[in-house]
Symmetry: C2
Subunit: 275 residues, 2 copies
Amino acid sequence: MSTQSRKMAPVGVFDSGVGGLTVAREISRQLPDENIVYFGDTARVPYGSKSRNTIIRFSEQIIRFLKTKQVKAIVIACNTASALALDAVRDEFDIPIMGVVVPGARAAVEATRNRKVGVVGTDATVQSGMYTRVIHGMDPDITVIEKACPLFVPLVEEGFKEHKVTQEIIEYYLESMRNTDIDAMILGCTHYPLLRSKIRAYMGEKIQIVNPAYETAMDLKKLLSEKDMANEGGEGRHSRYSFYVSDAAEKFRRFANTVMPFDVPTTNVVNIEEY
Amino acid sequence: MSTQSRKMAPVGVFDSGVGGLTVAREISRQLPDENIVYFGDTARVPYGSKSRNTIIRFSEQIIRFLKTKQVKAIVIACNTASALALDAVRDEFDIPIMGVVVPGARAAVEATRNRKVGVVGTDATVQSGMYTRVIHGMDPDITVIEKACPLFVPLVEEGFKEHKVTQEIIEYYLESMRNTDIDAMILGCTHYPLLRSKIRAYMGEKIQIVNPAYETAMDLKKLLSEKDMANEGGEGRHSRYSFYVSDAAEKFRRFANTVMPFDVPTTNVVNIEEY
């Protein structure tokens, strides 16, 4: 691929479903000239309760699919896949691949004053211990407290954001975290930013809430610039977004329209198991 | 296959995950001489929010897998797959296949006195309208009220059965149903019998709660007898159960041990996408 056509090539972004749209939204804000190909694995969502081998196999299939779209780089916009599959797929494919865990961990390390950080995420992410390992790689003296909150995803997916049970489940999961003296907490699942205001209200002012999506978009910007891959846009050009899913869930489009700052067009369905 | 070896062959039972174990349990009670091969699609669970085409494709793969285990008949122990895929796969495979919707519907038709029946299930099951169609095929004058309760499955899966939010979500979903004058209600999802006592307490004494698992086991008994396929057991013989899953979730085994009346051995992991 020539340098010019590489610059014009899209960035691939994938997630187990709709959650990664919060990352795509952040990329569209910070890198408005980039084209994006988004893949949501709606046929096999959620990933948070599944095993490492399965998450790696699913991620490999999706990366093979995204490569058919000539993407120049891939963002794994799913904490579970970032935590469990990034190392494996990075060794396997000849394309820059980044996840959300390292950017999120770095932001928390920079945010904490008392070196006590909390992480909330899916079962699989928390059991992997990846956030703790990455944070300790940056600063071994930071205390990390991780907590799985498996019901947050279905509550968001089923539209219970404003229902009182969501408040009760936030309290149920986060009470022990609030009783610690952490001063920064990572929302280690792409769905959780959609509950941010409620989580912030419960955790209180003294705890800084870290959303890895913002940091991930910053890291992508740096990566594309370093590799001389950034799309420089051009007169009258508009960036293009395409959305692919593994299941024809109309739910995806409806949800996407509440997350993205523009109308999400019809999504294309891909039989991802064939990749 | 000879008549004798056909009689000895196992029954295949499948579900999107652990829920179908409530059906396997009922089969083991009513047909203690039958061998069972159970498949739980733990890599792609849940089915309840996915589309018909995807559910059919998943069901085809699982039936092809079960056929490699020389099953003599297959029970789709998942309401969503029964509602969306049974008709399609029945035409496609040369083996008796039954679902849980017809037995559940028949039991409700027999139970109702005032000819008003409620059905609770997943989004996909309720949107398919299959329970209503099947009930109307039996008695077109019965009024059927369906209601999707998508959070029941994650609440059961995450062990929130006894938590107060489960009570609140039961009230949230079922309040409108309780305000009708139905006198029978089908638990149209294999997870829901695990919430039966709470649902029964909320709905009150006048409503008969129908669990399709029981009726399905009865129908299987009839089918095996009609086709001269029933396993007649024998001196000192014990029926054998084997459990396969598409993801190595230790969760499956833990959950299975709370449902089945015996210790569930190590489960075997199958890459179901290859079938």
